[in-house]
């Protein structure tokens, strides 16, 4: 398939139809597919063969960085850089350091979750070929799109269109790259 097309868009009226179509298309042999839906469709990841998100590991790493940063900050500030005895309390101890350590862990981890999510999704990105689909607006309203991308090794437009029609697509369209 030439690269002038992004792929074949098949539009479905219900999330259930999308799920079945994705499963069948995968069984048919398509591997490069993407689904677009106005809300997360339960089970679509398995149907498309999308691996689970690994965002959690990134958040854990950055969160622990926050923990360490908070402890180092409170220790260095209180016990090294400007030691000052207040109320006879030790210059540094873990007990009083817990609240700030906890808060900074949460702060760092939350930033990691948000920034990481957008980065993994390649956002912000204001242009994408799927927006060329003539009724893309449905995908954020009440329509469910299954896209067989042009790069798929077994993809043939006519064949794909026929398969999607038999699976209940209400509309199919080849979309420009």
């Amino acid at each position: 398939m030439s690269a002038e097309f992004h792929g074949l868009v098949a539009e479905f009226a219900d999330d259930h139809d999308l799920l079945i179509a994705a499963r069948e298309a995968r069984r048919f042999g398509y591997t490069k597919m993407e689904a677009y839906s106005p809300f997360p469709v339960h089970g679509i990841d398995d149907a498309l063969g999308v691996p689970p998100s690994r965002l959690g590991w990134f958040v854990l790493a950055i969160g622990l960085t926050g923990t360490l940063a908070a402890i180092l900050l409170q220790w260095w500030v209180g016990a090294i850089n400007y030691p000052l005895i207040i109320g006879g309390k030790p210059l540094f101890s873990m007990e009083f350091a817990i609240p700030v350590t906890f808060e900074l862990t949460v702060l760092f981890a939350s930033f990691a979750a948000v920034v990481g999510m957008f980065a993994l999704n390649g956002l912000p990105r204001f242009y994408h070929p799927v927006f060329n689909y003539s009724s893309y607006a449905g995908a954020t309203d009440n329509r469910f799109l299954l896209v067989i991308e042009a790069g798929d090794p077994v993809f043939e437009p006519a064949e794909g269109e026929e398969l999607m029609k038999t699976l209940g697509a209400v509309k199919t369209e080849l979309v420009e790259a």
Partner: protein
């Protein structure tokens, strides 16, 4: 054999549907987006001109305070923490309901949260903004507020004292505000994409186009999105508990009788959720009625919220009783005196207002008739809002006004500036809420659609 199958109407009574009137996905988009795309209603202008005038008054009061000095407030020996810190704790507490609804109920898989979480989260942000005003201006020189953060600077040449609960509070509240804002924005991105794709004019296209960051709703997007949302919920849950815990440390780590108690953290957290739910309810009942959202925010939602208020209100009542018991049981004469003084001393009027509003009022929610009646619950939430403000006032003012030395006793009276500043923050809060209701999607469309999908497919299975 007896017919054991339950009819649909019986099932509905046991487990009512969360979205009424069998809407389609499209009708949800139309309804929610329609609120903000239609012509601005006249009464919105009336409402916002009223609330923004009050906000202007807040600006005037704060300017007056800056020009005159902190003496414009009634804080004075021995009550140096008075009205302003009461308002701070009150507003922070209000915010906690939003996070509870968006994070804790999410982790507990309470699907009914989807109709109300967006507006509750918005309320959290606005409440935290109102709360922040008070400690900021109580510093006397708010333009030096960066001294609160560990930033190396030449004019101060000192570091913060990390052994003080007040610096913990700075970290807790600023983290809370930041994380709540991120949680709110992330939750809104798919809806902003919906608005982008519906936008008719250039301004809306560009605004929502930029705000939605190019969201496409692809399966790969949703996969990371759902993970990020789950993580944020998991982080916000301990965060919200920690914030009011740390707020309570401001008091509990001192040695003032009436403040120096270990019960404060859980008691403050329960109180915060109690008061926040009351505020969410007050606003939601008005929004539901004026914006015709009865099919999305159903009686079931409101009833569930009332049940949470009953639970947290009972915890608060129990905490009041425990405080009294411990004051007696401790054998500490100062502690005993403080509590007797609360109930029978010069601030008895405030104490009994608090007891009436916070202990007696929520108990009415035991009756199904009362907790499903909208006028009743609206009235009760107003009482709870008032009661919870008084709770903070009672804790702060009564503990300080008579401590160890009778020679340094006093009586705190708010000045007119105190009173108008508090009123002003209500104006700010409502103005922000009105702007939100007009310009952003008040209901999480994507989440409600997922609930409807669930509801439809369950119904289909039942019919087979």
């Amino acid at each position: 054999m007896a017919d054991l199958a339950l009819g649909q109407n019986v099932l509905n009574e046991v487990n009512p549907q969360l979205v009424l009137g069998h809407p389609t996905y499209h009708s949800i988009t139309e309804q929610v987006a329609g609120i903000m795309e239609g012509k601005t209603p006249r009464r919105w202008f009336l409402a916002i001109s009223f609330t923004s005038s009050i906000t202007l008054m807040l600006g005037a009061m704060l300017t007056y305070l800056l020009v005159t000095g902190i003496g414009a407030w009634g804080n004075n020996r021995p009550v140096y923490w008075a009205w302003d810190i009461t308002n701070f704790v009150f507003w922070i507490g209000i915010g906690h309901a939003g996070t509870l609804i968006s994070a804790i109920l999410f982790l507990f898989r309470q699907k009914w949260r989807t109709s109300i979480n967006r507006s509750a989260e918005a309320m959290t942000l606005f409440a935290v903004a109102c709360a922040g005003i008070f400690p900021l201006f109580h510093t006397g020189r708010p333009w030096r507020a960066y001294w609160l953060f560990p930033l190396p600077n030449l004019d101060l040449n000192l570091w913060q004292n990390f052994r003080s609960p007040l610096i913990w509070d700075v970290f807790a509240v600023s983290t809370y505000a930041t994380v709540s804002a991120m949680f709110w924005f992330v939750g809104m991105v798919p809806d902003l994409a919906t608005l982008r794709d519906r936008a008719k004019n250039k301004i809306r296209q560009v605004t929502f186009g930029v705000l939605s960051l190019g969201w496409r709703g692809s399966a790969r997007h949703w996969r990371h999105y759902e993970m990020a949302y789950l993580i944020l919920a998991g982080l916000s849950t301990p965060l919200v508990l920690s914030v009011h815990t740390i707020v309570s440390f401001d008091f509990a780590t001192s040695v003032i009788p009436g403040w120096h108690t270990t019960i404060f953290p859980p008691y403050f957290v329960a109180g915060a959720i109690f008061s926040g739910f009351a505020m969410v309810m007050t606003l939601l009942i008005i929004a539901r009625w004026t914006l015709h959202l009865e099919n999305l925010i159903t009686r079931k939602h409101l009833e569930n919220m009332n049940k949470i208020m009953l639970a947290t209100g009972s915890i608060v009542g129990y905490a009041y009783a425990t405080e009294f018991f411990i004051a007696w049981y401790s054998g500490n004469p100062y502690e005993r005196f403080t509590f007797l003084n609360r109930a029978l001393g010069p601030y008895a009027w405030a104490y009994w207002t608090m007891i009436t509003c916070n202990v007696v009022t929520p108990q009415l929610f035991w009756f199904k008739k009362l907790r499903t009646s909208i006028p009743v619950m609206f009235t009760l939430t107003i009482f709870i809002n008032i009661g919870m403000w008084f709770e903070r006032f009672v804790i702060i003012a009564t503990s300080l006004h008579r401590d160890f030395l009778p020679s340094s006793w006093g009586y705190f009276r708010p000045t007119i500036v105190d009173i108008l500043t508090l009123t002003g923050t209500f104006g700010l809060f409502l103005t922000l809420f009105l702007l939100f209701a007009r310009f952003l999607p008040m209901i999480a469309m994507a989440e409600v659609k997922a609930v409807v999908s669930n509801q439809n497919h369950h119904a289909a299975e039942g019919a087979q």
